[in-house]
């Protein structure tokens, strides 16, 4: 049952990305083009998602545990350090270079553009490299 829910969550997430145009690199890059031809779509996506989360999360967090797992696994790191700042800076450069974030890149694999596959493989290599760096 957990697996069915996970598949369903992926489906809804991926459909949401496609409906909102976030699998279109032109639209996402357009959001960053504040000094050129700005397309605000991403702001509406974030706004709508934030509203749903704002309305539903307090209800979820009142529970002691999730419905199908033993406990909530939430990010615990709270502090702001050099790794966060550097990581966020690199993430933004990668975003501005091609116009995907991890979710939209995965969903866009559907479109069978080989450059998307290159992006995803490179992203995984980047994650593996960062793991090595943080481990040392």
């Amino acid at each position: 049952m957990r697996n069915v829910i996970a598949l369903l969550c992926g489906l809804v997430f991926g459909a949401g990305l496609a409906v909102s145009g976030m699998t279109d690199t032109a639209k996402v890059l357009g959001f960053l083009d504040v000094l050129g031809n700005w397309t605000p779509d991403l702001a509406f996506v974030i706004g709508a998602a934030a509203c749903v989360i704002l309305m539903t999360f307090p209800f979820v967090m009142r529970r002691k545990s999730p419905l199908m797992s033993l406990r909530f696994l939430l990010p615990t790191t709270k502090f702001i350090n050099g790794q966060l700042v550097g990581g966020a800076a690199l993430y933004g450069i990668g975003w501005g270079l091609y116009g995907y974030f991890p979710g939209s890149a995965m969903s866009s694999l559907l479109y069978q553009d080989w450059k998307t596959a290159i992006f995803v493989v490179a992203m995984l290599i980047g994650m593996a490299l960062a793991n090595k760096v943080s481990a040392n």
Binding site: F44, L54, K78, V85, I118
Partner: protein
């Protein structure tokens, strides 16, 4: 406003997905983290792979059922994709879990950590695009 109906609907779907994943599995929908967990063969992994399968099938459902065309392929070069992906993957892991979707959560929880991350990646994103598109076109 009509032009922004689809971004709003898409955002609602993304929010609902995040709510379900937290409510049922107790997980935050951070795609970078889920994909990494899937390929690095962590225990109890089936749900991650199925989430990723869903990520690809969701757009298929949308484009098929509503008969909408796929977006145009990116005109950028393969090395934009390679370097962009590499930096994004490295950045996500180095920052130990902030993502675009967690950026949304950061707004909701007023978490300074996520807000700082969001401001920084927005800034470098805008700067990078400005350089590549306007300052040195053809880079």
């Amino acid at each position: 406003m009509v032009a922004y109906i689809t971004p709003l609907i898409g955002g609602v779907l993304i929010g609902i997905s995040a709510f379900f994943l937290l409510f049922f599995l107790g997980r935050i929908s951070s795609v970078g983290g889920i994909v990494w967990g899937a390929v690095s063969a962590q225990p109890d992994n089936a749900w991650r792979w199925l989430f990723v399968v869903g990520l690809v099938l969701g757009p298929l459902l949308y484009h098929t059922l509503l008969d909408t065309p796929y977006p145009q392929a990116s005109p950028l070069q393969w090395w934009h994709a390679a370097i962009g992906g590499l930096l994004m993957g490295f950045g996500v892991k180095l920052g130990s879990g902030f993502t675009s979707s967690q950026g949304v959560l950061g707004i909701v929880w007023f978490s300074a950590r996520y807000l700082v991350a969001a401001v920084i990646f927005m800034s470098t994103g805008i700067a990078t695009l400005y350089i590549v598109r306007h300052l040195v076109p053809g880079l």
